[in-house]
Symmetry: C2
DNA sequence: ACCTGAACACCGTTCAAGT
DNA sequence: ACCTGAACACCGTTCAAGT
């Protein structure tokens, strides 16, 4: 077996998959700012230049890493027109995403024009999963909006999101607006939340420290806001805005824009 | 006059302001990715190392540049409780921001609890101006959400936004949620729009090229979406989502969350 | 007080050379 | 086919030296 045991001690042979996995792990652990080809190579027990055999360049590396992250986003069951028992997956949304009650809208309507598959639950499920994924990989949201290429997992994500809206009755201009409004909220919230990403407990120390040297008289409302965030987690902010948007869209959907 | 004419030929002496101005101009023209201390120095007729006399380091340079951009955001007139004739400034909002009619909400209510100053118009004005500013300086939105320090102009922006909401009756948790939902929309939309920032006309070429090598059968809804964006500008997407959010917030305000 | 030159410890990427 | 070493053209930042 000369091929399999190419390397004597441990290390399996390098592949694109192993490079991308190591890249994601490294970015998760140390941030994407300090990730260099040379350091990533070292992590894999290889000279940095060897990576160019499996990756075109650093942008290609980033695209591959980002698509791995995109693949983690939990899309609602394929639920195409011909797919059976979509309801079997939807209930779990209620379990894992309990905040739906914040603003009842679609549920209370007995609309004959309503689609068989609740578009609102599907969009909500996808958005919550995307948000959680961005939080798991704090470097990924910034990359998502940068101009790195779009891989197959991201394409699938986008296609699914657009299809769900389309099948719910959104069309043309309104479809486009609905789609972008939801996506903007996801990526905007992730970026803002991650801009202040701090280790647990660090928030209190930072906030207190900040307020000490802060011109409270000059910016009293900002000071109050910081004080608020030192005490409250604000965990529900994402779903609050999401529900606000989804409710508004549902209203426009039934009235036809 | 030995001090004023320190330099013989032209060039005024270097100051922090001149460094920041040049930084903004350079980032506007060539992007922030290629802005280096050395190249910025050369632009100013100086060795890159000289910049460290006016700027602590590159992060400090970025903070200063970003705060200059923040200062460009047009805040609604001070309009504090004691400020007279706020109405004198608000009308211009209607002129420069004509899309308000998209979804009537606050105007039609004759609410005795409504604040004297229309919070919705003020929030809308500020958001539209912030959005336009981010578009003028395509590098700034990404910096806004990064962890560079917050300068005085940004503090003033944040304090004003929070005060307006506070004086409109939003309090505690709802104030925080309303604030973040609007800010997320602004920054999220800017980042997404700028991720595809292309020169005018470039869009058609890119979209057509992309669709040629695109697996249309695999992602039909995404393909349709791209086709749509080749033809339509989607200029109104920002204000659409903004109105959706502001309308939803107004509803929660009058019902008390 | 402000600027320069040299230096340090890094980058991404290419390419001939090895196996 | 895959990896290495050397090289190229860059980085941010520090610091002694100049004026």
């Amino acid at each position: 077996m000369p091929k399999q045991a190419g390397r004597p001690s441990g290390r399996p042979t390098l592949t694109r998959d192993r490079v991308l996995d190591a890249g994601v792990a490294m970015a998760d652990a140390e941030g994407i700012g300090t990730l260099s080809m040379r350091r990533l190579g070292k992590e894999l027990g290889v000279e940095g230049m060897a990576l160019y055999n499996h990756v075109k360049n650093k942008d290609d590396l980033f695209e591959g890493m980002l698509d791995r992250v995109a693949a983690e986003i939990d899309l609602p069951a394929t639920g195409h027109a011909d797919a059976p028992s979509v309801g079997a997956d939807a209930p779990s949304a209620g379990a894992a995403v309990p905040g739906t009650g914040s603003a009842p809208a679609a549920q209370s309507r007995a609309d004959p024009a309503a689609p068989r598959v609740d578009w609102r639950s599907r969009a909500r499920w996808r958005a919550v999963s995307a948000h959680a994924t961005f939080m798991r990989h704090p470097w990924s949201a910034a990359l998502w909006t940068s101009s790195v290429g779009v891989g197959p997992a991201r394409m699938r994500y986008l296609d699914t999101a657009l299809r769900d809206l389309r099948e719910a009755g959104f069309a043309d201009g309104l479809l486009d607006l609905a789609f972008h409004t939801v996506e903007n909220h996801i990526v905007g919230h992730a970026m803002q939340e991650l801009g202040f990403s701090l280790a647990p407990g660090e928030m209190e120390a930072m906030g207190a420290e900040l307020l000490r040297s802060f011109p409270v008289e000059e910016y009293p409302f900002l000071a109050e806001h910081i004080r608020y965030h030192v005490e409250e987690t604000g965990d529900d902010a994402f779903e609050f805005g999401l529900d606000l948007i989804l409710d508004g869209l549902e209203r426009l959907r039934v009235t036809g824009g």
